[in-house]
Symmetry: C2
Subunit: 102 residues, 2 copies
């Protein structure tokens, strides 16, 4: 299992456009055959901050995600919206056990 | 939906004990009637860092979690293992839509 939390902070004036562009990416990413989950959360205390919780079956499935039309379209659209460089943190799952992921 | 990511860093000598104590809490938390998800991840780059991804149907369900025997046992056991104060970040879900959570 390949788990990444991508942390994003956008310029305040782009919050609505960022959400719209990201929903397009997230809906399509959830349809990828190697995807397990791809959730999209907004911080309550600071609505300019977001996290994408991406879970793919294998690292290769995550690599393929970065070649899809929806990811490339998203990356192009949101580039100027970033308030700082986004970053991902990789995790291993201790619970659920890797075999039990749905 | 009530979503919190709890970020934890433990003292290196306690990593194994922390995992054991937390698995007990996480397994029981997943059985609570108001719980939707309660995952437990370890950072790949720094194995002393963890995140608990807690999703409850309502804030009241999350409050009840903090009154359970398994949570209180966990809090007691892990107190001395913390390398720094743990903190939670609250989120709203943009995807899946709040109505679609399973």
């Amino acid at each position: 299992m390949h788990i990444v939390h991508v942390h994003i902070r956008v310029k305040p004036e782009y919050v609505d456009q960022f959400i719209e562009a990201t929903l397009d990416n997230v809906r399509n990413s959830n349809q990828e055959p190697g995807n397990v989950r791809f959730d999209f959360f907004q911080e309550i205390e600071d609505p300019t901050k977001f996290v994408l919780t991406e879970i793919y079956r294998t690292p290769e499935d995550a690599d393929r995600h970065k070649e899809t039309a929806h990811y490339l379209r998203w990356r192009e659209r949101v580039g100027e919206m970033m308030a700082e460089q986004r970053y991902g943190i990789k995790y291993r799952s201790l619970y659920p056990d890797e075999a039990d992921w749905k």
